[in-house]
Amino acid sequence: MKRRSFIKSALVASATGAAVTGGILSSNAVFAASHEMDMTKAKSFDEAMKMMGATDAAESDMIKIKAPEIAENGAVVPVGITSEIEGTTEIIALISNNPSPYAAKYTIGAKAKASVKSRFKMAKTTDVVAVVKANDKFYMAKANIKVTKGGCGG
């Protein structure tokens, strides 16, 4: 009798546990859409794109990604992103295979050239996706980088 009730209560507990985690996750997603910094909670590339509302981003050859094809050290990978699209207001860099793909967002002021360069960390061989926001539309470009030694934890 004791054993049976134990199993029963354990089952109930795990069920509620699962429900709660599910609830937390979905509320996080909702929260993230409204709050910039929670973009870091996006654990996959698709999720990050969804949070930005950029799922319909068109591929464009006006965006140039300057990065090495093979990076020996994933902890420091120089990546330059240049957008030749007129009216570029935001450049967002996503590293699709990183634990949190959303890497950086640059808000381009009126005077600045839409070209930025920074050094990124990459956990493993990955696509770097540059999403550019211009005139309230999203454009994107991709570059694949082979990483021989990862740079995210470990």
């Binding site: 902890a75 420091v76 070209s115 920074s118 050094r119 934890g153």
Partner: protein, 106 residues
């Protein structure tokens, strides 16, 4: 004067000011562990703001995916004599800033 965490270089070329900057910062992702297996708490720069003559030129929102001692480079339309100010903030509330006048030796 304590050493600034920011190194800032500016260069004027054909009406464009090229700004290059290095910031000394550990940029911990929160995923790494020490040799003992303790997690190193996340500490990374969340915002870098660059202003020229008080006007925002570029704002970068960064995450843990930016390398340690981050580097940023870009250019904007400006002239010699502009005051370029770069400031950063991290997720633990630390911050620093540095001002420089384009074309002037420090």
């Amino acid at each position: 004067m304590a050493k600034s965490t920011i190194k800032l270089r500016t260069k004027e070329k054909g009406g464009l000011i090229q700004v290059k900057s290095l910031i000394t910062h550990p940029m911990h992702t929160g995923l790494r562990r020490t040799k003992k297996g303790d997690k190193i708490p996340a500490q990374y720069i969340t915002e870098v703001m660059v202003e020229a003559n008080g006007e925002p030129v570029i704002t970068a929102n960064w995450t843990g995916s930016i390398s340690k001692n981050p580097f940023i480079s870009f250019s904007y339309a400006g002239a010699k004599g502009d005051t370029v100010k770069l400031s950063w903030k991290d997720n633990t509330g630390k911050s620093d800033s540095l001002e420089k006048i384009v074309g002037k030796k420090k």
